[in-house]
């Protein structure tokens, strides 16, 4: 039972990391990133491949953050001139292209077979202790990330990105350069997603392109919409609710017999869709305009 809770805790913290990145990008800056899972995937594959080829974990994680951040840079560069809705479609497209590359470049990623046997963190400590140490590490990283985003939000930089979110033309008129700030925000958020990906790869120990479908992006969106957009606490609470939702649906199968694994996958997708719709209609405060203060 404890092992189960720690396992859920690790996955929940991975989602918190992802949500924090999106909170920075969408909540604070208003960037509609529908391709978050793409940066998550880049991080997972980068760290897995580096570590499998003999690099120490720290290099794997740094590589994951770096490559995910670097990948965000050209995406930002080309798509920042676009209208909100085009930006959303372009980022969604980016994440799908990442998945296609992961599927197609077998020499590197082993395609649909995926990469098995990725080393775990602290495997030397043995099962339970190693898992606990992993949990402690990701918790520490998440706390640092949350603290960093709170600091960013309260800094002059934070005031500018929030001003960009609220009225980009006005910021421009003040002589600031919104695209530069947006790219920085995109890169930082993507790097966070990359780190989350590295944790995921080294925890699950097996990665396949199929894990990086757009649904994951919308899990994160669901988390921040439910938790309250633009708030660090919202990202945390939203991720916890998301975890309850994802894990809880597993128990539905135990209670209601006769639901197959694939049917359950459908039911989950449907519930995500339904929740997105209901929140957009009935709890729009989180999403539109009226951003609550931290």
């Amino acid at each position: 039972m404890e092992a189960y809770l720690v396992a859920i805790g690790i996955i929940a913290l991975i989602y918190v990391l992802l949500s924090l990145g999106l909170t920075l990008q969408y909540g604070l800056t208003g960037l509609i990133n529908f391709g978050h899972v793409g940066f998550f995937a880049i991080g997972a594959y980068t760290s897995a491949l580096l570590v499998l080829n003999g690099a120490p974990f720290i290099v794997g994680f740094a590589g994951a953050a770096l490559l995910a951040g670097v990948a965000a840079w050209p995406i930002g560069l080309v798509s920042l001139r676009l209208r909100d809705d085009y930006f959303a479609i372009v980022t969604l497209g980016f994440s799908e292209v990442v998945r296609i590359v992961l599927t197609s470049e077998r020499w590197l990623t082993k395609g649909v077979q995926g990469i098995p046997g990725i080393p775990r963190l602290y495997s030397g400590l043995g099962g339970a202790a190693g898992q606990l140490a992993t949990f402690a590490t990701i918790l520490a990283v998440t706390v640092v990330a949350a603290w960093m985003i709170l600091r960013i939000a309260r800094s002059p930089f934070g005031r500018i990105i929030e001003a960009i979110r609220d009225n980009e033309e006005a910021v421009q008129a003040l002589g600031k350069d919104p695209p530069r700030f947006k790219i920085q925000v995109l890169v930082v958020g993507a790097a966070l997603a990359g780190i989350a990906g590295a944790f995921y790869a080294h925890y699950i120990t097996y990665i396949v392109p199929e894990q990086y479908i757009p649904l994951v992006t919308f899990y994160v969106w669901m988390a921040i919409i439910m938790g309250g957009v633009g708030r660090v606490s919202g990202a945390v609470i939203g991720s916890v609710i998301l975890m309850v939702f994802l894990e809880g649906s597993r128990f539905i199968r135990d209670i209601v017999p006769g639901i197959s694994e694939v049917d359950m996958a459908s039911v989950r997708i449907g519930l995500v869709g339904l929740l997105l719709i209901l929140f957009i209609i009935y709890r729009p405060q989180g999403l539109m305009g009226d951003y609550t203060k931290r």
């Binding site: 001139r81 085009y86 497209g93 292209v97 649904l215 449907g270 339904l274 929740l275 999403l287 539109m288």
Partner: protein, 287 residues
């Protein structure tokens, strides 16, 4: 000759993309948001067509079933969701349309299972046109697409409701003060956009295998064609779909089969880089 064959095959594929793009562009022009549920609406159309075909054995009934079922479901989506968000930002509608897409996919997955389904299409010998091999099925589907296009353009340009739709696309406020009731226009829009997407889905299903996810995969090519054709321009959407289909097929020998969608994405990026607000600078509506 090899490339000519690919080009022609691409044109037939492009018809599907073009119809999907037409559905997107109609919604974008009149309801003013990118409808991410278009892909999964196509999936719905394909399953509806499969069911209708199994029941009747007729592809005409299948097409009508696809158009009818998808049109009605999107109309229900409008009544229950999009109408409530009419005065909200584009992003609210976009997120809601993704929600609808997921709900549709889930419902189809539960109802029809996740196995691959195929249309029972009789095998037939391809026609030869000076070395070009063309399947009778492709010609029949081109005919279906043509009939659909004629029906859509006839509706848009020859009927009163079509004129009202174009007026709303052009200038919503002006249309309203001219006594056009937006509610009726929206009902017509969603029935039409749904019917077009449904038929596109049936065509895609006849060319490939039907799974609950297969329509979603068409979303990027369809958006690309809608943007390439100039958002809000029905003719542009169809032409851009044909161009995109041909480009994807002709490039396949160079980049491989799996990178088709990546090509669509790169074309979309290239177009948006030149015209960041879409080819026509702003939403100009259905013309």
């Amino acid at each position: 000759m090899f490339y000519a064959q690919l080009f022609v095959n691409g044109l037939f594929q492009g018809l599907v993309i073009g119809l999907a793009a037409l559905s997107i562009t109609l919604v974008f022009g009149i309801a003013r948001f990118p409808n991410a549920a278009t892909g999964d609406s196509m999936t719905l159309g394909a399953y509806a067509a499969l069911a209708a075909h199994k029941a009747s054995g007729s592809f005409i009934v299948a097409g009508l079933g696809a158009a009818g079922a998808t049109g009605i479901v999107l109309l229900l989506a409008y009544w229950s969701v999009f109408r409530k968000l009419a005065n909200r930002s584009v992003v609210a509608l976009l997120v809601a349309s993704i929600g609808i897409a997921f709900v549709l996919r889930a419902a189809l997955g539960v109802a029809f299972g996740h196995g691959q389904q195929v249309f029972q299409v009789p095998l037939s010998r391809p026609y030869l046109f000076g070395g070009l091999r063309i399947l009778p099925l492709d010609l029949q589907m081109a005919l279906v697409a043509l009939v659909t296009l004629i029906a859509v353009f006839g509706l848009l340009y020859l009927t009163a409701i079509g004129r009202q739709m174009r007026a709303v696309a052009d200038n919503r406020d002006l249309a309203r003060v001219s006594g056009i009731r937006p509610g009726r226009v929206m009902i017509a829009l969603w029935l039409l956009a749904g019917a077009v997407a449904g038929i596109a889905g049936m065509m895609l299903g006849m060319k490939t295998i039907v799974t609950p996810e297969f329509g979603w995969e068409m979303l990027l090519p369809a958006f690309t064609a809608a943007i390439l054709g100039g958002i809000g321009s029905p003719v542009g959407a169809v032409v851009a779909g044909l161009i995109l289909g041909a480009m994807q097929e002709v490039s396949t020998p160079f980049v491989g089969f799996t990178y088709k969608i990546a090509i669509a994405f790169l074309i979309m990026l290239a177009v948006l880089l030149v015209r960041p607000r879409g080819l026509f600078g702003r939403v100009e509506g259905v013309r």
